[in-house]
Point group: C2
Chain length 202, copies 2
DNA sequence: ACAGGAGCTGACCGATCGGTCAGATATCGT
DNA sequence: ACGATATCTGACCGATCGGTCAGCTCCTGT
């Protein structure tokens, strides 16, 4: 693997674990076994390192959303999206963890803005199927909760609690699809009502 | 309000929004309208500011857990816990957000260790009712997801997506209780036998 | 043989970090 | 009136931050 690619992965890992501000170029250089100057030779700036670390995951998520929003909301398309979304979360844990945990303090960074825009498109897609408070909370719990629990699974599964072991990844994937589908199911069974909350559709 | 209490709240807010490392004493002082030296007069160090900011929420959560674990696992006690837990999340958003989003990079800070120990006790309590991967994921999605979606509700509700308005707090509370209960319900319908994890009562 | 670019480095820069310290100001009990 | 105490401040410290720059060592095409 090239030094440049190695630095990208180290930076992504450290940004995810310690945050963007909490990770110094010096530390990235030390882990890679090169000098800080070498890091800045391969990447124009620390921000460029963040940008190139997140870019692949952002482009993948963009593709998923483009494909999903190509047709109107339906239960079948929603279920297909859920599978794709869960796979995305499983394979982009570092990126998702970095964005979820540390993105709010990096709001003026362009690559974070792009990721935020994706969340907005995702919310718009599901908000087209519900207007009730419970529906909105179901969407948030299902997608945000799944992203959170996956991106920080090490924290709860290994570090903190010793009584919960790390399950096989395919079991995690299957369980997550079941739970997310269950959470989102009421949103499209009978879309017109759901709750007695008429309001707040701006 | 005393200067000291004002500083505590400003620090908690800034730590939650920008992270512990991402918040400087200078910034806290500027918001409060005092000098950096004054901040360090009221609090021995930056870490003391973090400690005293999180302490009340930690003590409250400790009380909830002590009360809940005073008796063996049952559906009724679980439901009572859920209500208390949701109320806790609603009233301690800053603290929960700070712990969830930035706690993993502060693992050697004593107050964060205390909070992590609470999560461990919580996980032990619910892991006594399930051993399946799906059960563990249900627990994680329900509690972690609820904590996440509430602590970062501003991000998804106001900043990012303009199509989802901020619902009344009592509706959020009711919806969350329904969803969390629904997620955790299958865990105690048939509890043949739990784990072989005797207590770990510290 | 050698020019030239790729990869890499140490020295250095201004800015900011958390924290220390001596002293200024104000309040209060006596 | 006067010392004691609480509150607050600016000046300063060493460490670390992201970033710049001149120059070093290779390797390769000609």
């Amino acid at each position: 693997m090239s030094t440049r690619e190695e630095l990208r992965l180290i930076a992504l890992t450290e940004f995810s674990n310690s945050g963007y501000i909490g990770t110094s170029l010096q530390r990235i250089a030390e882990i890679a076994g090169v000098s800080k100057s070498s890091v800045l030779y391969h990447f124009a700036s620390k921000e460029a390192l963040l940008d190139e670390g997140l870019a692949p995951a952002i482009e993948r998520m963009q593709g998923i959303l483009d494909r999903t929003k190509g047709a109107p909301f339906s239960a079948a398309r929603r279920d297909a999206f859920i599978v794709e979304f869960v796979d995305f979360l499983l394979e982009s844990r570092l990126e998702v963890n970095l964005f979820l945990n540390h993105g709010q303090s990096l709001e003026d960074v362009p690559v974070i803005d792009r990721a935020n825009a994706l969340v907005g498109r995702l919310a718009d897609y599901f908000s087209s199927a519900t207007t009730s408070t419970e529906g909105v909370m179901r969407f948030g719990m299902a997608l945000g909760g799944a992203a959170f629990i996956l991106s920080s699974r090490n924290k709860f599964g290994e570090d903190v609690s010793t009584s919960i072991a790390e399950p096989p990844v395919d079991e995690v994937r299957a369980a997550l699809v079941v739970i997310v589908t269950e959470l989102l199911a009421p949103l499209t069974l009978s879309t017109p009502k759901a709750h007695s909350t008429p309001s707040t559709q701006e």
